[in-house]
Symmetry: C2
Subunit: 229 residues, 2 copies
Amino acid sequence: MTRYQVVTVRREIGAAELLDAEEFRQRMTSHGTLVANILSSPGSGKTSLLSATADRLSPEFRCGVLVGDIATDRDAQRLADHAPAVQLTTGGACHLEFSLIERGRQALGDRELDFLFIENIGNLVCPASHDLGEHLRVLLLSTTEGDDKPAKYPKAFRTSHALVISKCDLLPYVPFEVDRAVADARSIRSDLAVFPTSSRPAQGLEAWCDYLIDQRRRLLGGHPCRPNR
Amino acid sequence: MTRYQVVTVRREIGAAELLDAEEFRQRMTSHGTLVANILSSPGSGKTSLLSATADRLSPEFRCGVLVGDIATDRDAQRLADHAPAVQLTTGGACHLEFSLIERGRQALGDRELDFLFIENIGNLVCPASHDLGEHLRVLLLSTTEGDDKPAKYPKAFRTSHALVISKCDLLPYVPFEVDRAVADARSIRSDLAVFPTSSRPAQGLEAWCDYLIDQRRRLLGGHPCRPNR
């Protein structure tokens, strides 16, 4: 039994449809759906974070996930136990563009959603330049990548509202200073919300989920955070 | 005192110069310089690997390093204690293109080199599509990124000659099976040379350096490995 769907687009994604991202964002707002776009390097733990997040938000909130990858549907398979998931496969392209998001939302069907999560391609560079119609851009940085990443990938940090630091359970074994990474990131974007977490064992997820719920409350109240491109 | 140089090119790198990559490769061959292009995600340990590699190869062999980053010269600062290093800053672009390599080699001056290492931008996607005139393409994958990466980033694995697995000291703490990652990678490229390593403490570097020395010997003997794009 297929528990998820696959949308594959090869080399036909184009820049023209980016103009529709703002219309999509407004439509999602009117439906009460907070859209969060998750950016990170390969292997920082996007799928693990979203699985744990969906588990915590359900059943009070209805979640859906669009999962971007260059190839394979492994992440949608992993997520399907936690939330309705649609795999978006770019067939080589290094980032998601808006046209895939619109198709992915349609593939999720008519179900109402409180949260729509977009797991972007594992890439700290190119996805930062593409508006996917999200309300919230979230950057995920794992402790194993090093605390020097904010200054080296400034656009990803500058355009994100929140920073989730993953794999904090590995802090005793890696040269990563949380304070240094946060100071570096906030020198690029001073109002960045920061959430240190780990998933083995689960830590820090409550504050992160509370933040998401609060952001949705602001959205419903007519006060969403502003996209900052 | 500046111990390294910075070459900055903003948005002027173009595809046309890629045609010169083959000429550069042949020129480096005639000079006895093995050129190795190192690809990985952000934070996999490219700079640490190259620092340790230069330490082991010197003084018997003369090494130079071209260090790609989107912003900052932190990696060239780190490398300058180990080998002559030139920082290549793309000002936003997600990969190195050949024009920067030619300028970087010129910036290293007239010194003869046995090995020229290129540390590419931290990105497992876009750099795989660009020939930098290298003889050897090396993919660095850290154990903390997960053993599911080969199938998800197939072009980077298909076009690489060697796979260095870094951070093997963290294997007791992360869900990474070396055998699974290697089998996955070799299902994409069967002749991939594989080197499990760690830099804290240093392990596996001798086999890796022996491989480099052997590849240079083949180059001097007129039998370099073939670029496989």
